[in-house]
């Protein structure tokens, strides 16, 4: 091998920078190519080779990620440092360990994970060839469900939006912090969502201007969903959520009235102060 800056349009340099997952990957490649011992890297040669790669990329007008440039600067610094005799080094650095070791440590560290990634890749290659009963499941991200269904995550997301609105309204004017109970709000919601009708999630909170009231109403809504009195529907993720009554026939639990709710220890949370 004839390393150095003089290398013409060498095939080696054809390896695109994008073939490397980052500057550490490129450095490892160069160390291997130069048959260096990772614990005993020759900084001058390594820096030279590294910069040659970057130059080549620039010539080919390939975008170079910032991290590659940062590493170039680090290498130049480390190299320049080796040129200084020990007694000329800034006093604060004399007793410190050679910063080169920081880079070496990082390289060794990275190499282990790169190898682990390779092994994971092999496993993935094998197991992507095995079909189970519903392989489609693999492509469905967690938290997303079929059309129409709403996850807890979606509800909380919608709820946060409502809460933000309330905070803005609250800032606009004063309001008295009343006390609300979940059972009260259960009744309110059952009134608000008559059988056979759909109400947009956000409309349920429209008249409310206190955080406490919104929170308690949300708890009541969750309770009613749990009791299968109400259900939430959404066309697609991130689209508006609609709340509707569960058809009478399908309901398992009786509609709880306030007495029953309190009597059976159903949450009747007081508004947090």
């Amino acid at each position: 091998m004839n390393p150095g800056l003089e290398i013409p349009a060498n095939e080696n340099l054809r390896v695109e920078l994008s073939a490397f997952t980052g500057p550490l990957d490129l450095l490892l490649h160069l160390i291997k190519e130069q048959e260096m011992d990772i614990y005993d890297i020759r900084l001058e040669k390594l820096t030279e080779q590294y910069l040659a790669r970057l130059d080549k990329m620039k010539e080919e007008n390939l975008a170079i990620a910032g991290e590659f440039l940062v590493m170039a600067a680090t290498l130049l610094y480390l190299k320049s440092r080796t040129l200084l005799p020990v007694q000329d080094r800034p006093p604060e650095e004399v007793e410190e360990e050679d910063p080169k070791w920081e880079l070496i440590r990082q390289l060794i560290e990275y190499r282990k994970f790169k190898e682990a990634a390779g092994q994971l890749g092999d496993r993935e290659a094998l197991h992507s060839k095995i079909f189970g009963r519903t392989p489609e499941r693999v492509t469905v991200p967690t938290g997303m469900q079929g059309p129409g269904q709403v996850s807890m995550f979606d509800l909380v997301w919608a709820f946060q939006k409502v809460l933000r609105g309330v905070e803005e309204r609250a800032r606009a004017g004063r309001f008295a912090e009343d006390e609300y109970t979940v059972s009260e709000k259960i009744e309110f919601l059952l009134d608000r969502v008559p059988a056979g009708q759909e109400v947009p999630f956000e409309d349920l909170f429209r008249s409310m201007s206190s955080r406490g009231e919104v929170v308690v109403t949300f708890l009541a809504l969750l309770e009613l969903i749990r009791l299968r009195q109400l259900t939430a529907r959404q066309e697609k993720p991130l689209q508006p959520i609609f709340i509707q009554r569960v058809a009478e026939g399908g309901a398992r639990a009786p509609i709880p009235d306030r007495e029953e709710g309190d009597g059976t220890g159903q949450p009747s949370v007081e508004t947090p102060a």
């Binding site: 997952t21 980052g22 550490l24 991290e67 560290e109 890749g121 496993r123 197991h127 095995i130 009963r133």
Partner: protein, 207 residues
């Protein structure tokens, strides 16, 4: 051959997720709706039958895999081409090399913050992290107590299935890689911060 072995095979065939031996034993003991179960079935016996099934299945073009804490029937890997053609399925694209690296760092060092992953890889990882979370193989597990309360990432059960792993212990060289000390996060760091990072990077309960 135990008389319930056929039931076991039917359950595994119909399942759309890995079934734990414990759950299988329970199903066998309980029996079908309104019918007679096998009240004496023990989990160890289920495991025995599972092992027999694992030996017998390849002759039929199927395999039994132990993944994500349970057992699952799948088609034999060498027949993938045939099955893919039948289903007209394009397999979900495999993860890119950068995504695999990020995945590896998460798998061994979870829960871990983005800054810590980037300290290992030496590159920005926001894009690959989004990909992994979208694919359902990584998830946000919480927030670190370190300054700035960064979001922490971990693996999902789908991760185990995707890579055909029984559990996290089955990761190659897991002992060595978990103990690895992380390099410092990107910003200039004193020894104090190093401490914090190490704490935040301690592997928590596996699951």
């Amino acid at each position: 051959m135990r008389e319930w072995a056929r039931v076991l095979e039917a359950l595994l065939f119909a399942a759309t997720e890995p079934l734990e031996p414990r759950r299988l034993a329970l199903l066998l003991r309980e029996g079908p709706e309104g019918g007679q179960g096998f009240p004496e079935v023990k989990e160890a016996e289920v495991r025995e039958e599972l092992a027999k099934l694992a030996e017998a299945l390849p002759a039929r073009g199927l395999i039994l895999r132990e993944v994500a804490g349970g057992f699952r029937i799948g088609t034999a890997p060498e027949l993938a081409g045939w099955v893919a053609k039948l289903k007209g399925v394009v397999r979900p694209p495999r993860l890119s090399p950068p995504a695999l690296e990020t995945m590896a760092v998460i798998a061994y060092r979870q829960p871990i913050s983005r800054a810590e992953i980037e300290a290992v890889r030496g590159v920005d990882c926001s894009g690959t992290l989004d990909t992994l979370v979208e694919r359902g193989v990584a998830r946000i597990t919480g927030r670190s107590d370190a300054p700035g309360r960064p979001i922490l990432y971990g693996t999902t059960p789908l991760f185990l299935e995707h890579f055909g792993l029984k559990d996290l212990e089955e990761l190659p060289n897991s002992e060595e890689l978990r103990r690895v000390k992380l390099p410092l996060a990107a910003d200039p760091a004193g020894p104090k911060q190093e401490e914090l990072i190490r704490e935040a990077g301690e592997p928590a309960a596996q699951g």
